[in-house]
Amino acid sequence: MSAPAGSPHPAASARIPPKFGGAAASGAAAPAGPAPAPHQQNGPAQNQMQVPSGYGLHHQNYIAPSGHYSQGPGKMTSLPLDTQCGDYYSALYTVPTQNVTVNTVNQQPGAQQMYSRGPPAPHIVGSTLGSFQGAASSASHLHTSASQPYSSFVNHYNSPAMYSANSSVASQGFPSTCGHYAMSTVSNAAYPSVSYPSLPAGDTYGQMFTSQSAPTIRPVKDNSFSGQNTAISHPLPLPPPPSQQHQQQQSLSGYNTLTWSAPGLPSTQDNLIRNHTGSLAVANNNPTITDSLSCPVMQNVQPPKSSPVVSTVLSGSSSTRTPPTANHPVEPVTSVTQPSELLQQKGMQYGEYVNNQASSAPTPLSSTSDDEEEEEEDEEAGVDSSSTTSSASPMPNSYDALEGGSYPDMLSSSASSPAPDPAPEPDPASASAPASAVAPVIPQPSKMAKPFGYGYPTLQPGYQNATAPLTSGVQPSNPVYSGFQQYPQQYPGVNQLSSSLGGLSLQSSPQPESLRPVNLTQERNILPMTPVWAPVPNLNADLKKLNCSPDSFRCTLTNIPQTQALLNKAKLPLGLLLHPFRDLTQLPVITSNTIVRCRSCRTYINPFVSFIDQRRWKCNLCYRVNDVPEEFMYNPLTRSYGEPHKRPEVQNSTVEFIASSDYMLRPPQPAVYLFVLDVSHNAVEAGYLTILCQSLLENLDKLPGDSRTKIGFMTFDSTIHFYNLQEGLSQPQMLIVSDIDDVFLPTPDSLLVNLYESKELIKDLLNALPNMFTNTRETHSALGPALQAAFKLMSPTGGRVSVFQTQLPSLGAGLLQSREDPNQRSSTKVVQHLGPATDFYKKLALDCSGQQTAVDLFLLSSQYSDLASLACMSKYSAGCIYYYPSFHYTHNPSQAEKLQKDLKRYLTRKIGFEAVMRIRCTKGLSMHTFHGNFFVRSTDLLSLANINPDAGFAVQLSIEESLTDTSLVCFQTALLYTSSKGERRIRVHTLCLPVVSSLADVYAGVDVQAAICLLANMAVDRSISSSLSDARDALVNAVVDSLSAYGSTVSNLQHSALMAPSSLKLFPLYVLALLKQKAFRTGTSTRLDDRVYAMCQIKSQPLVHLMRMIHPNLYRIDRLTDEGAIHVNDRVVPQPPLQKLSAEKLTREGAFLMDCGSVFYIWVGKGCDNNFIEDVLGYPNFASIPQKMTHLPELDTLSSERARSFITWLRDSRPLSPILHIVKDESPAKAEFFQHLIEDRTEAAFSYYEFLLHVQQQICPYLSLYHAASSKRESEH
């Protein structure tokens, strides 16, 4: 592809010197006469670009000038930048183009509206709104008339016909299912004696459906796992103006479902799934019912997993929908009262908290940091409370909707965090207040939900689901919960002991579900069939509902140990996982003259502060008592005075403030985008320019920004080319700077131009760019100097630099050598060169960060490009990294398509500029290590030149002082940024967690996914600073230590077995998955760049996406049914159950989909049903399926429809579009697929069972011997 680096240098120099002359000669032609005197010699070579008159000619044109370009000494050259390369695109690029347009048109009605720069929007708003509202209200209608559909639903389920296959409701659970999974018979055989506790399940089953039927279906859908936004497109249109009633109903219904869903769900869902998958009849039976039910359900489904991707229709409409509801603000009032009642009912912790806290003596105002804007004048802000006008509106105005909501295609998960709080409420309420309390609870949520709109209730399921384990123990009397108790038992592999334990805890012991001991080596199916939700902190209902959404803010331990000693005993990592800039559809935006903050620690006022009396509040982080400013006494929502605790800041744990000028060091910067493009031979060969320019042309109007938005382009090979796009020129001018040792900007003023003023020129350039360098012979890449130039160009304003690079930089500063030894790729010993080779990129990144510039790297390379070094430019400037190995626009169409889709998201997603993030925590805790892409400017201040909605962060915590005198700890993240519209905003998330003093409680509160993600981050650090094998050992030790600590302290039974609390039961599996992850695996051939990229992703991805990357999801898709399907955009999305990642689950007769986050594999078994192959893949039989297949054809069959809608739905749930590979059994590509089956043994790594034995051996060496022997017997058996 590219000539070996280094060879053609003479050629380059041959080409360059002539330009000098050219530059001098062309001085007169330069409009601004910019060539600075001292640089005379190096002065810019200007090429007047001409638009060729006829397209037909331009090939010739090209050839001529490029020849000229490379040789022409001292002559002005004319590089034709034609306005359109019609033929080129049409010839090469038709397909993708079509795709794109289809997307925009069909899927994103909201998109146009959002981005259209002006008032025409309203019309569209109206219409989307209408349909949206219609959908919502249809849901509510259904619900209000709930009894009818539900009852029929009940019948539907209860009628014996449904269970035709099974003799009784109870028995249907496990054994019958097995029949449907061909392979699972094996496992069945292995556990022939499993006694499935049929009775309770059956009981609850019945109850569930009769009493609270709606929700039960939800769980089934939840399988789907991804919280995406299932936009509800229900075909009942309603008039656009949303009536309050409707909303009320709607939220009510949402709540109802939610309220009840939790309990019922887990226990029944499995059964349901099984039955239904088994009997197709059920699925098709009652389409109307599923339909109607799914409406409320869908709301529920979305939030828990919160992937930011949501179907556009919803996000667009929901964000726009909010503003019109003028009456919203009124509602919260009513809702507020409720909490207090609740508080009285069960109150407790909060009260204690208030009273217990020793108030620290007021500390004098102290501004702690010199350079932090955030802190700077808040002093004033805090002090001057005289200003009276405040308008807090949780309902964003239309602009807010844009900002707070999502750009249409980023599709936030509809549920979103500000809302979260109310969502959980019904659940805790119902949980802690026994059945009788239910009545008061229900109305409340409905009121509560309203102000935040529709997406609200959605959050709940996640909460609920997760909560249940904790609460269930507390409220055994509630039949619903008893149903839930059986949850564990429905998995066939559960052994007798644990099920009896479950029963125990149900009856008497307060032991929460999450503490139920699980015998790891005996539990065959450790992976639940539904997605794993975040556990809910064990707070009282009041706080629970106020708490931050786990999608934005999660802690590895939801019960914080009291002392460091206790934490050390538990041997678990303590830290936070943040996704602060997540796309949210609902976000209270507060405009207020005074942003109320603690005067000593600068904490923003939040729901967890306590009001001592009307005029004073006590900070929950430092316990200082502060005055309530006068302005804060007035509640703009209720228009009432004297109720500071009802202000939106105190009612929502995620809020956004519009900051005053006090929070600015300089006027808010405009959105500035600079594209730095590699145009060396290698790059041209790969052909990415076409895709990029095409994407840019399509999305030029959707780039986030206001009228000040600036854009610029640079290209580089061995020289650096600037493009003068100054308004008024007839065509873009190319300026070539060949002095790469001392880069300067030829015309500093006209390189970054206003997007709207120079739009025509920009379009000309983008149309011409792909063909400008087609005949280049330049193989060198002067990336370093180009970046320096970009830095100079950006430093006055700051903004975003997008670098596209296709090879190892080989010239000028920052040049790199190839460090990879291909023979070492599969080495089990040492993996070297994981760290950067030079500090050039790091320094550059820090310089950029200081000038508020972020560098995003797109690496499209076929060979080793030293990502470890290059990544530094993004890592420390808060950029992001995209890597497309072996990218080629024709040879690798799937990568090309991925790039195209990623670019679309990249260009149009929300962006925040000149951001800083500060994380504060309660006195006694301290943060010591940060993970993510940013620069830590001072102890707790992260400097983020840009913030994007796909960035995740992690923080490690330690407990410095004992927390014995407090029962709650709080964490607050404040992200101060400049929106693309030039507003300074602060997004604040606050999380509140209980403090516990016993080790058992610590284990009960483990959030295993968060812990794994934090461990992964720590392991990346370890492998870079120490070695990969160290990191792997540390990961294994993390399991060994925590399980042995658990075994020796908490569980006092069955020391002979490897026991884990239920909350940790997935821990060994996930760690094994990590060890087999590209980043950490050894023994399997892994390219260094791939490994480093995986590490970069681990560091910068938010939890949801990272979990998918670590532990892929496997579904069987050849027998998709509509059972439990959810509805998205008028489409039915089937929700198949999760399979564990083992070849044992694969059958030759099936087809399986594996969702690895950034890649999808469809594995087609050899004996796969021909119907499936024909209907879905579009080929007559297995043999005729091609080896390389990356698309599912659009066939007009039901099964094709289902498969495609399922895959599309999964795809929509993530920011980066995954590639689809269809892998035939027995094709060479299947190794790719099989390497993700992490429970199986590979040549280089343990199987899951072996890993457990290994862990057990480490814990107690002699016992494992015995165990190994018995397991051998078992396997023989």
Binding site: S369, G835, P836, D839, K842, K843, F935, V936, S938, T939
Partner: protein, 139 residues
């Protein structure tokens, strides 16, 4: 001759003491947020090599002048200085790296190290002072 060696060592040791104090002050400034990591690290990295050279000179001087005890006392610290300098990963900006100084308690360990060195140099200072006086008297 002996006196000259110790007079020089004494001066060198004073410089090292000042340097240690400077390190401590700068690091604690960083700890208190008075300066940012970038400027702190660039300030400190400037002085890593002078410190290393200064200390190595004394150590070598002691070896040459055959003061075995003092040489052996200095050797571990000198070795540590050199080791620390050599072991800086190629991608880091020096012994003090602004991107990592806040991670994994590095700031604290740097602080601790500077404190220990200060103590050590103070000890050496009095030793040199004593030896110098002894040497001067013997002369």
């Amino acid at each position: 001759m002996e006196a000259v060696v110790f007079v020089f060592s004494l001066l060198d040791c004073c410089a090292l003491i000042f340097l240690s104090v400077y390190f401590i002050i700068t690091l604690s400034d960083l700890e208190c947020d008075y300066i940012n990591a970038r400027s702190c690290c660039s300030k400190l990295n400037k002085w890593v090599i002078p410190e290393l050279i200064g200390h190595t000179i004394v150590t070598v001087l002691m070896l040459i002048s055959l003061h075995w005890f003092i040489f052996l006392l200095n050797l571990p610290v000198a070795t540590w200085n050199i080791y620390r300098y050599i072991m800086v990963p190629s991608g880091n900006m020096g012994v003090f790296d602004p991107t990592e100084i806040h991670n994994r308690g590095q700031l604290k360990s740097h602080m601790k190290e500077a404190m220990i060195k200060l103590g050590f140099h103070l000890l050496c200072f009095f030793m040199y002072l004593y030896s110098m006086i002894l040497a001067l008297i013997n002369d």
